[in-house]
């Protein structure tokens, strides 16, 4: 690797220029990946935050929480199979609320959970609701920007139900709308007001949820499916993909990332190809004095490797800086695992881009060093 590094030392300006372009491309790859992940999280944070591994939903609901309906009996049957502590009922409803005394309307998602259950999120401020304190809700922190505070009364546009904000939770959203948590009892009350549930008695005996969250029961899923006809058990990630807009959004972003990868590989390939062609006679001389082709090919590949790893390291630093200064309205998330996967793919793509140059190097003839042999 004698040649590769010394050449970079000698032609600093040239390699720094290439490195700058690679830093920019790598930065863009990481940045868009972070934004995609941030959006994904923002879109489905509440579901992602849930400790559940699987969800039981109604057949033909296309894995969508809002389309599925599950009743009390099914919940009991599920609890009987995997144990009471491993199932939780979940109500999901997208609606519009108006803070009392104001005219703005806010789109929110109601998430009904058991107050003492494991779907209940951590509070950042305020107090938890208990079964006794009816008509209280916990709202996502982002709603504070809309003037919502503890004690604000939210009026549901569809049903007219009123809830008082009792506390805030962090990073809770569903389909890009802030999540509003209400207790199981309030959910039942809300159901009674909807058409199709005229009598209180009937509603009480036939409470409807949207899904059952299941955890720690991977080995009993087949059994669970047997006792719950007319339902399907889906994984958490399947449920997330089915959240309205999630798949489309991620598809577009993934496309951008894919193109960035392809472009970076192409840019590198062209750069190195041009440099390699410029050095044809030099490679010819090196071959004439006995340099193995594999040595030269390795030399080219090593330069690409050094450039891509160095550029990546620098762009990771820049991304971290950006992350620190980005506003909340631009959700950004880049975990270590994603970063490692992205980095490795970037390096692999870069090396792929250098293959053309390596191939060119193998084609160079040592005879070039002696000049035209055909007289």
């Amino acid at each position: 690797m004698f040649l590769a590094l010394r050449e970079m030392r000698f032609a600093k300006a040239r390699y720094i220029l290439i490195a700058i372009i690679m830093v920019l491309v790598a930065f863009l790859v990481l940045f868009v990946t972070g934004l995609a992940q941030g959006l994904a999280y923002d879109n489905a944070a509440s579901v992602k935050n849930m400790a559940a591994t699987h969800f039981v939903m109604e057949d033909n609901s296309n894995h969508r929480f809002t389309r599925s309906q599950i009743d009390e009996e099914q919940l009991d049957a599920a609890a009987a199979v995997v144990g009471d502590q491993n199932v939780e009922p979940l109500g999901v409803s997208m609606t519009t609320v108006i803070p009392e005394g104001e005219t703005v309307k806010l789109d929110i998602t109601l998430l009904a959970v058991r107050p003492e259950g494991w779907l209940m999120p951590e509070l950042t401020s305020g107090t938890k609701f208990s079964d006794l304190s009816k008509r209280y809700v916990l709202v996502d922190q982002s709603m504070a920007e809309d003037g919502i505070d503890i004690g604000t009364v939210l009026v549901d546009q569809a049903s007219g139900a009123e809830w008082t904000v009792n506390g805030f939770v962090a990073n809770e959203s569903f389909s890009h709308t802030p999540a509003v948590f209400l207790s199981e009892q309030d959910w039942i009350d809300l159901q009674m007001q909807s058409p199709g549930h005229p009598g209180a008695d009937e509603a009480a005996s036939n409470t409807r949820y949207n899904a059952i969250a299941v955890k720690d029961s991977a080995d009993q899923l087949t059994h669970l499916q047997e006792v719950l006809p007319g339902t399907e058990i889906i994984t958490k990630s399947e449920a997330i993909s089915a959240i309205p807009g999630y798949k489309e959004e991620q598809g577009s972003l993934l496309m951008m990332i894919g193109f960035l990868f392809a472009i970076s590989a192409f840019v590198l390939a062209v750069f190195f190809y041009v440099i390699t062609i410029q050095k044809t006679s030099q490679f010819g001389i090196l071959k004439a004095i006995g340099t193995r082709t594999s040595y030269l090919a390795k030399s080219v590949a090593l330069q690409v490797l050094v450039l891509s790893v160095g550029s990546l390291a620098l762009s990771i630093l820049i991304v971290q800086l950006f992350k620190a200064v980005l506003p909340d309205s631009m959700p950004f998330q880049l975990g270590w695992l994603t970063m490692v996967i992205t980095s490795v793919s970037f390096i692999v793509m870069s090396l792929g881009g250098s293959l053309f140059s390596v191939w060119k190097v193998t084609k160079i003839d040592a005879l070039d060093a002696i000049g035209r042999t055909a007289a």
């Binding site: 004698f2 040649l3 010394r6 050449e7 030392r9 000698f10 032609a11 030099q282 001389i285 090196l286 071959k287 004439a288 004095i289 006995g290 340099t291 193995r292 082709t293 040595y295 040592a366 005879l367 060093a369 002696i370 000049g371 035209r372 042999t373 055909a374 007289a375």
Partner: protein, 226 residues
């Protein structure tokens, strides 16, 4: 006397616009230890082809090339590359040093390729460059050297792996008379001092007195000078 390089019945033909052209025709050459051969001839007489074949860069259409008594025909590219690295030293027309290596690194590169350890190659390269009177230039890049200095670095590089045969392709072409003579003198000293062989392809008649034999490439054959 041992022959380090033997060319036996070398024939080389090229396809040229449908007709066959014979560049070398039953060419024979034997070079002994410590012997320096000058090869002259007008341009187009096949000097480059002769050098390429003798230097294991090109396989002849017919005939045999023997280096230190063993044939180098029918070898793989990798074996030929190894052969050029260890047994053959090339000195090109315009030095052809690697622009991004310092003088000493030019020599260490070939030692490195041959698997020599660094301490050893550092010592040997410094020693060779001292003989070439370049001790003060070890850390210079080629573009800072004069033409004569560059050619002396090229000689040192060719000698670095202690080859059996040196090939020089017009080594004085880019130098003035005095420096050209110096360079060939240095080659001659090294070859005679270490019992190597050298083949110098040249146009420069001033260097001929330093050579043991002068051959002319005429009609595809090497003939002795008149």
């Amino acid at each position: 006397m041992r022959h380090l390089l033997e060319l036996q019945q070398i024939t080389q033909t090229f396809e040229d616009g449908g007709s066959e052209r014979k560049i070398l025709d039953n060419l024979n050459l034997e070079v002994s230890e410590g012997e320096i051969i000058a090869v002259m001839g007008p341009s187009g007489s096949g000097k480059s082809t002769f050098l390429s074949i003798a230097g294991a860069l090109l396989a002849p259409t017919g005939g045999d090339v023997r280096l230190e008594g063993t044939s180098i025909l029918n070898r793989s590219k990798l074996e030929l590359s190894e052969l050029r690295l260890r047994k053959i030293g090339f000195i090109f027309q315009s030095a052809n040093l690697i622009p991004y290596l310092k003088v000493q690194e030019q020599l260490q590169l070939v030692a490195n390729l041959a698997g020599q350890v660094k301490a050893q190659s550092a010592k040997r390269s410094a020693e060779l460059l001292r003989k070439m009177d370049l001790s003060h230039r070890l850390q210079a890049y080629p573009d800072k050297l004069s033409g004569g200095e560059r050619q002396r670095v090229a000689i040192a590089r060719a000698l670095m792996n202690d080859p059996a045969v040196l090939f020089a392709d017009e080594p004085t072409a880019s130098l003035d008379a005095a420096r050209g003579l110096d360079v060939v003198n240095l080659i001659a000293q090294q070859v005679r001092g270490q019992a190597k062989s050298a083949v110098i392809v040249t146009h420069d008649e001033r260097v001929l007195p330093l050579c043991d034999r002068v051959l002319f490439l005429e009609e595809g054959k090497l003939v002795a000078g008149k």
